[in-house]
Symmetry: C2
Subunit: 319 residues, 2 copies
Amino acid sequence: MRLSEVGERAILDYLIPRLSFAGGHLRPGDDGVDYLPRGRVVVTGDMLVGSTDVPPGAPMESVGWKAVTASLSDLAATGARPVLVFVEMGLPPEMELDELKRIWSGIEMARDRYSVMVAGGDTNSCRDLVLGVFALGEAERPVPRGGSRPGDLIGVTGTFGRAAAGLHSILTRDLDHSWEALRRSFLWPVARIEAGAVASRYATAMIDSSDGLARSLYDMSRNSGLGYLIERLPVDDEVTRYALAHGLDPERLVLGGGEEYELIITFDPSNERQLREELASVGCELIVIGRVVEGRGVWRVQDGAVVQVPELGWSHFGR
Amino acid sequence: MRLSEVGERAILDYLIPRLSFAGGHLRPGDDGVDYLPRGRVVVTGDMLVGSTDVPPGAPMESVGWKAVTASLSDLAATGARPVLVFVEMGLPPEMELDELKRIWSGIEMARDRYSVMVAGGDTNSCRDLVLGVFALGEAERPVPRGGSRPGDLIGVTGTFGRAAAGLHSILTRDLDHSWEALRRSFLWPVARIEAGAVASRYATAMIDSSDGLARSLYDMSRNSGLGYLIERLPVDDEVTRYALAHGLDPERLVLGGGEEYELIITFDPSNERQLREELASVGCELIVIGRVVEGRGVWRVQDGAVVQVPELGWSHFGR
């Protein structure tokens, strides 16, 4: 059955009982959600658009999962712990109800994984598939993008390029089992919630790498007015193997990949040991990739020389 | 210049300096917004979709205005006072930058009118125009949709049918000056923020009428399990004149109009005088239209008989 045959009422009757009750005066089906924060709240939002963000053949569950993950990753990048999400959906009338149910089941998987409430939402008829997720979390001292200081080290919470290689494998329909884990990195990314909360105690600045490593460093640079020098690229071994097998440039996958939800953290060198230990305690390896320098921009050390890094990465509107 | 020629960076460079600074640790251009609430927060969201919500010829400023108004009207319906909004945009690449600027200017008009911060957002390429607005407000005791009690009176904050008549005038290109005010009611609706805050002290239940009078009463009924009996239709005189001039049924415009942002309030009859006075103090007339009865449903008194009201009103997905 298509949504146009099912009708809005039946869609709401399916979704409303599946919303989390936030424990306040308002209940699922009300105009909003209310809750009593224990302190400072942090609000983030991220919109997933079917025509640009979903490759053909992606399971619908992963679409719901990724929409929540992207929004929570923005929260993680401030060090906040998520409390609730609100999901606004634009749905093509010709979509099958079963597809919507699978999207919602992915949203519920993310809800359970991140221990967050899916407390409200909205459904609308739309020419594109749109999931606008708005996340609310709590943090004592949210970390900005632009707080780096010259001399800070730049650390990341994982290797890069996996999601880009996985997407390439999906788009080229190379469904070789060897690359299954890379495809999973693209379809089922995980927001670094615990790592963000732990790192926020030491970070001078933090951002998630959802727009790619290079572009995210440029975003930090724009906000801090400082330079970011990459001394060691966080290349993933599997990505290198994939790139070699497909005639791709592994460094381009690492710098310009995007759809990756690692954190990029700058911190005072004196905090390195402690940050490393605390990240390890939440199952996350700190990889130091370079340092913050004077002068606006992003550079890397390549064959002993310092070269400017192009602002690769995902950009909307084709530019 | 089209957005595809301008590119995302230039769009962000235009928008980010126009965001409000919420006074926290995070600044415009960061991954989120942080603020310290004084008490209970209420979160609402509403998505505006170009292909279904914007008639041909509507000024782009009104699109931005309406997107914010719709979301704040949901807040008003809980009695909350708005603090900040977050705007996620899906934008067709072929859209002119000037159109986006005009949408944003409408968002800023709403920001100033409602004294709310436009604190964050997100832009994405999309096949449809989508404005996903999330609003965060504060209320001591948010009012649910379903709290009515048998014997309560049903009040509304204005007459109905104006927006529906105005939309009809726009869609039929009847640009007669006589109907200018009706068209304005559709293009520039106002969320009843002050009225909602005042009424929340007396209301047992509240909802906004954005889906139409009949459908909104059915929504209340679904949540309360009670019946809503309309004894007097809040017909607008100008709507009656418009309907007569165009061979339309004025009662259908009143019951099934939608896109109207009046509040529907149920309250104990002993509070009527006080509620009326306090609403008057914020420039709003209380119109009592009926009362809450036992038994689930919506009825009206017509020619001395009680008849069931059809669930007219806006429904997505063509049902």
